[in-house]
Symmetry: C2
Subunit: 414 residues, 2 copies
């Protein structure tokens, strides 16, 4: 952080302020979600920092002017090279007429966008002096926290639901955390873990952890840089807990506040029709979240029925006009996953392809207009769940050597 | 390529020269492996180019001074952001006393080092005017070529062995190539595909394709840059076809030729004990390769029993003293895979962890000495084959809410 800025923590609901070293994750006054805020005394200095060429590849250093860390205490040895992900302009037969870019977060060290937030959370944990971290997650975040904890030499606890499918455990187990299948309400477990962690000195880097959100927002900084600070019209991303959507909105607001972008893109959160708690409230103009009953979607990374940052997002969308929420069906998600791979060469996990499904819906519904510029965030790698690829259904040819020439000439024969 | 350099093709065995636009992959005189060579008229200009700050993230542009492409014809739209991978200094309890770095190629767009070579191969194919590409592979390379072909809008043929396991197909099928299960000798298929491809206008970007090798060597350029041109003592990498090891040696020789590094690291190729055709010949001082019978290893990415670049590697090692070959057992590979994940936070596919297994062997055997500097190349992502992670054997706890506090206090309880 440059000397002229000042960071503190505030409630996103009632505005109550806290010191930067609090362990709190919710407002003691109104239970609202907290966030880190900055007083940028010299926006010009922040701009200059962003435009400087001699910059670190370590995202917490590169964006230190807008992060709540003491620069001198940043430890590049904890980094796995997170961030620095490519922004890829759509190459496929772009029959939609839209100027589409994909921010490919799947190439992060553990295969998802979570790594940006985790490196920030790990630094936070260390600055608080703890030796143990944890998370409540069954997927991307669990693998990410386990990996970074392993690297930092911190003990790591991963709480998963008792009903987790065995095949989802492998990519977490690889990093050797203490893995606990927990019986009881999973939404409740999120808050219970924070409470127990605070009491027992275990820093839980959950999905809307204050510092995780600060790390996640660096994806937005990168997008702005990669577009030479010409803001897109829309940024579309999958939404589960709401933590990353909050980070995206926050990152854009900060870029705008210091004058690095002239306009604020509309932020579009995508939920699966089979698990749409935020979308349901948004549609009704309701600021509260109702738990979504019987969540069921192929996009498991966005299947949170009880999103902890849901209310915060709703306030931003309904009161702040920051954007909106769309839902897409599993069939649309799987079709978008296929299209993204076979036209762009990007193999996303289903949740990561949901933004393309939403984009197609926005075109159909006339929301998106020709030549508008859109960034779709590909949140995680298709390699995370290969079971959704139907190999039995694929058109696989068989041949001996003698038949190969005909195949090369004919191709798929379509 | 800067104006002062000149690229041509030559046989690595007899030296016969070819023009750059030949489709040949083997010497018409002696069947030796061909390679691209450069006459660097001004090594100083190459050095200057490398040390320049204003450089593209697109590897074919960034290293154009040492690549056989016309700069003006390079197409960044074909890139998926390959390369630019992190070099991570070992953080784990480094009880070996060695200065270890991991070059994490797993974070390439399709999860392996192959993407560097594929983007070069795709450019080559396009410069030859073809609309169809292909490859013979059952793993990393198949996914990589299918992805880049999809992006470039080229038709793609992937030839796999008839006996391929179904679960290996998913990450290839995702990109929708024409996939052919071929009956017949798999080693022979490599050469047959090149022959048929040349006749039918299908450019096969196989493992030791001349231009693929040029792309692969960029990993070495990056390593040199990341170490500020202080060459390590050893570079260790897994070896299958030999194409990538040839690229590594070539990249180092070029860096040395233009004076960017002062010394040539020893290059250590690692094979699995269960499939060690190059190691077997190396041990006997034999320049030819004998097909390895009944290959069997958990590291499927390095299970080529008949490596097409084997002889070329043997010449470099036995005659050129470029390095050596080591073998490691499957048990050592799996132990290294676990260690890499739980101490460094890097989850590699088994082949990608083989260099760490070899490094440990080099320490045990007194080859590696304290304070020596080693770069281990992590060739591909652990997400590629989650079936090697034994979830049944993992120590997973179960608890209700009431039991969580005790678990946080006790940890794994070891």
């Amino acid at each position: 952080m440059i000397m002229s800025s000042f960071a503190y923590i505030a409630c996103t609901c009632c505005g109550k302020e806290y010191k930067l070293d609090t362990w709190q994750q919710r407002c003691s006054q109104c239970r609202g979600e907290l966030e880190v805020r900055y007083k940028f005394a010299e926006p010009g200095a922040v701009r200059k920092e962003f435009l400087s060429r001699k910059r670190s590849r370590f995202i917490l250093q590169r964006y230190s002017c807008c992060l709540p860390f003491n620069f001198k205490r940043l430890n590049p040895a904890l980094s796995l090279g997170e961030g620095n992900t490519p922004l890829i302009r759509a190459a496929g037969s772009n029959d939609l007429g839209i100027d589409i870019y994909y921010k490919n977060e799947a190439v992060n060290p553990t295969g998802s966008f979570k790594d940006r937030g985790t490196i920030a959370g790990i630094h936070r944990a260390i600055s608080l002096g703890v030796k143990k971290v944890g998370t409540v997650s069954t997927g991307n975040m669990a693998a990410s926290v386990a990996a970074y904890a392993a690297r930092a030499g911190l003990e790591c606890f991963v709480f998963v639901s008792k009903n987790i499918k065995e095949h989802k455990l492998a990519s977490i187990i690889a990093y050797n955390p203490t893995l606990v299948k927990v019986e009881g309400d999973y939404g409740e477990l999120y808050y219970r873990s924070l409470e127990l962690g605070m009491q027992e000195g275990v820093y839980f880097i959950n999905s809307d952890d204050l510092f995780r959100v600060e790390g996640q927002k660096t994806a937005i900084y990168e997008i702005c840089e990669q577009l030479n600070f010409a803001a897109p019209d829309y940024i579309i991303l999958p939404v589960s807990s709401g933590g990353n959507m909050a980070a995206v909105i926050k990152g854009l607001e900060e870029m705008h506040a210091v004058g690095l972008i002239d306009s604020l893109p509309q932020v579009v959160g995508v939920q699966a029709a089979g698990c749409r708690p935020i979308a349901a409230s948004f549609a009704e103009g309701e600021l509260n979240i109702k738990r979504f009953q019987n969540p069921r979607t192929v996009a498991q990374a966005i299947a949170n029925p009880c999103p902890p940052s849901g209310r915060r997002i709703l306030r931003k969308l309904l009161q702040g006009k920051a954007g909106f929420i769309l839902t897409v069906t599993d069939a649309q998600i799987l079709a978008a996953q296929k299209r993204l791979a076979k036209e762009e060469g990007i193999f996303a996990q289903p949740a990561g392809a949901a933004p393309l499904a939403a984009l197609e819906k926005m075109v159909r519904e006339g929301i998106l207009k020709k030549a508008e510029k859109v960034v779709a965030i590909v949140s995680g790698s298709g390699l995370k769940d290969l079971s959704v690829i139907n190999t039995a259904e694929a058109d696989i040819l068989e041949s001996d050597f003698a038949g190969l020439r005909a195949i090369l000439i004919r191709g798929k024969g379509v």
